[in-house]
């Protein structure tokens, strides 16, 4: 294997396969939702990240179990890359009491604190200052943890983004802002809102390091995230990574956007050619890091894991109605 050709970093075969596994896991998980959603048993809005998998995979490869992530409405992939239990996610989407949020949150509100997944906000930009707050806590406690904040291009337009990045730079906090630029905020194209790579340029303007990368190239993400996370962990302050990508499905739900006239089909076709998983698959097999058979086998193992998550979700009970009024306030469990 010629790993030097693959990346600046010292990636073993296992590392490479792991990156592939995480991307594929996210893809298959999301595709399962596409299949099941028409049954109308998953009664909550779902924001799928098919096409964007490389970003969470490349970033999370550098995170420890207890590092934090904060994310948004499109959070399934972020959580899975951080090692979230897929059964708890699926059960949450099905509104079951066994879900990660007891059925109260739905797909937009994912949490698994044991893995540093600290909750996702469906208010655009809402999680950004919270992530900075977690990094502030780490810097006060000197616990060595890094926080990653995932957000879309749309979120970079919110005032809270600027306020938070400035604060993080000022205090040199151990945090990485990952902006998944998929070119759209709902149906509004980026050109209606700002120009390309403009978001990354905000980093230096606010005192942070920054990078603008191809978010469909998992190794580019891996390399950039490695540097950013090391910088954060070593007291070098925040980095803003703008990773360009494309979401294949509609803003919400499993539908196709070009069918409702909100973007051209050609654009989707072009981006599908740039599928992060197909590209990496090709790279791994060409460079001899894996055989096609190994990758197929890996896919069927993941498919079984996901099928198990669905079984768990479907078999679980709905919450008891008296759960409606629990946990509004914290109550000491002693």
């Amino acid at each position: 294997m010629t790993k030097e050709n693959l990346t600046k970093n010292d990636l073993t075969k296992d590392n490479l396969i792991d990156l592939y596994r995480v991307m594929l896991k996210i893809r298959l998980f999301e595709e399962k939702i596409v299949d099941l959603y028409p049954e109308q048993e998953m009664k909550c809005p779902v924001h799928l990240c098919i096409g964007q998998e490389a970003i969470a995979a490349g970033v999370s490869a550098h995170l420890n179990k207890d590092d934090y992530i904060f994310s948004n409405h499109r959070g399934h992939g972020h959580a899975i890359a951080k090692g979230a239990n897929m059964s708890l996610l699926m059960a949450e989407f099905y509104g079951k009491e066994t879900g990660c949020s007891g059925g109260k949150g739905g797909s937009m509100h994912i949490i698994e604190t044991e893995r540093g997944i600290m909750g996702t906000s469906a208010i655009v930009g809402g999680g950004i200052p919270m992530g900075v707050g977690a990094a502030l806590a780490s810097s006060i406690k000197k616990d060595g943890k890094v926080t990653v904040i995932y957000n879309g291009d749309g979120a970079s337009e919110e005032g809270v983004f600027y306020e938070s990045l400035n604060f993080a730079s000022l205090k040199k906090l151990p945090v990485v802002f990952v902006c998944e630029n998929n070119g759209y905020a709902t149906n509004s194209p980026q050109i209606a809102r700002h120009s390309s790579c403009e978001i990354a340029r905000l980093g230096p303007a606010l005192g942070a390091a920054s990078a603008c990368i191809d978010g469909n190239d998992v190794l580019a993400v891996y390399d950039t995230a490695k540097e950013a996370i090391e910088r954060a962990r070593n007291g070098g302050g925040p980095t803003l990574i703008e990773a360009s990508t494309y979401r294949w499905k509609g803003h919400v739900g499993p539908g196709e956007d070009h069918l409702i006239g909100s973007r051209p089909e050609d654009e989707l076709v072009e981006w599908k050619e740039l599928c992060p998983i197909v590209a990496f698959d090709k790279k791994l097999t060409t460079d001899g890091a894996a055989t096609e058979a190994e990758l197929i086998e890996l896919g069927s193992v993941l498919a079984e894991e996901i099928a198990e998550a669905v079984r768990f979700a479907k078999d679980s009970e709905y919450p008891d109605v008296d759960k409606l009024l629990t946990n509004i306030y914290y109550e000491s469990k002693e």
Binding site: K104, N187, S262, I328
Partner: protein
């Protein structure tokens, strides 16, 4: 009057239209909102409409659909996601002679703009002793259902009623949606205009020509003698259905739709309670510090002697909105809750 009526569904309206002596023009609530904005844009060059995604194919549930094609993207346009700034931008344009209409797909995004609404728009006339005023409209939408959960299905109208200098309008019919939106733009003050998504498909009579409805005037949706039901926004439609069920049991409720929450038509509500002696307030918001509390207080202040029974309030429970449909079903009040509350009030003292 055809325009005071709430029709349960499209077929109910069509039946009424067929039986009516005068021709009834029927359009939906969403179409009525669109028509109001189109006529405002046509007739008043100070008006412009903007907000996140308003020019997309859906057009805010149809209420802004293709307006940009008709009036150009200088006067009808999409924006960055920057709610607080957009509100301040609307305010700045308003004090500079424009009549902006800023649209938010969900009321949950309006709290991001509270600074500009509460600290700025609400105070700009007063703080400068009337040297300027702020004719701006913030349209936003309340929805419910399909697991939208805690951050995407709130009913925050009462929050805005706390603020002097702001008007809060909540139309329940297509007729009111058009007439009140036109009145709001004419009014010259900052207006929070809150629509309910479940009303968007409702049909009703809407005259084609522009018209306004006085802000601060409620309306009697149905006359009755046994109990006053003040029903806010979408609850007015629920109350009409509850009234039919109650009538079968010989209980006649009087339904009042206040239409505007600030200012509130106290006289209309007090007059009704003086007649019926009983009050139920049906609202999709929280009870604690909610609009029902304000209405109940006004009755205690102005019609205390008329009350034959304690006041009942119908609200969502004191918690955020849950996602799971099992919990969601438990969360939202509906027709049965109105029926039960009215019966409780009417039977008070007779048990």
């Amino acid at each position: 009057m055809p325009w005071t009526k709430i029709y349960g569904d499209k077929s109910a309206f069509e039946k009424a239209a067929a039986e009516s002596d005068v021709p009834l023009r029927g359009i939906t609530y969403a179409e009525a909102l669109r028509e109001a904005q189109a006529q405002l844009l046509r007739d008043d060059e100070r008006v412009f409409v903007f907000g996140e995604g308003i020019d997309d194919p859906g057009g805010v549930f149809g209420s802004t659909k293709d307006l940009h094609k008709e009036f150009g993207d200088e006067r009808v346009f999409d924006t960055p996601l920057a709610e607080n700034a957009l509100t301040g931008i609307a305010l700045g344009a308003a004090v500079s002679g424009m009549r902006p209409i800023l649209v938010h797909m969900r009321v949950d995004f309006v709290p991001l703009t509270l600074d500009q609404i509460l600290n700025h728009a609400a105070k700009w006339s007063y703080m400068f002793d009337g040297k300027v005023h702020a004719p701006m409209i913030v349209r936003s939408v309340i929805g419910r259902g399909w697991g939208s959960a805690a951050q995407h299905s709130q009913n925050l109208h009462a929050l805005f009623t706390h603020i002097p200098g702001i008007r809060v309008i909540m139309p329940a019919t297509p007729y009111d949606a058009k007439g009140l939106l036109m009145a709001a733009v004419e009014d010259g003050n900052p207006v929070i205009f809150i629509e309910h998504r479940w009303l968007y498909g409702h049909m009703g009579h809407v005259p084609e020509d522009p018209y306004t409805i006085p802000i601060g005037k409620g309306i009697v949706r149905r006359e009755g003698t046994d109990c006053t039901v003040v029903a806010i926004s979408q609850q007015a439609a629920e109350a009409v259905k509850a009234a039919d069920i109650l009538a079968e049991e010989g209980i006649n409720i009087e339904i009042i739709d206040p239409r505007t929450l600030r200012p509130l038509d106290t006289d209309l509500i007090v007059g009704s309670v003086e007649k019926t002696g009983r009050l139920v307030v049906a609202d999709n918001g929280w009870k604690y510090g909610g609009i029902g509390a304000e209405i109940a207080a006004r009755i205690c202040e102005n019609a205390f002697g008329a009350l034959k029974a304690p006041i009942e309030r119908i609200n969502v429970p004191e918690c955020p909105t849950p996602a799971s449909h099992i919990l969601e079903a438990e969360y939202y009040p509906g027709i049965e809750d109105i029926v039960a509350a009215v019966k409780k009030v009417v039977q008070y003292g007779h048990a």
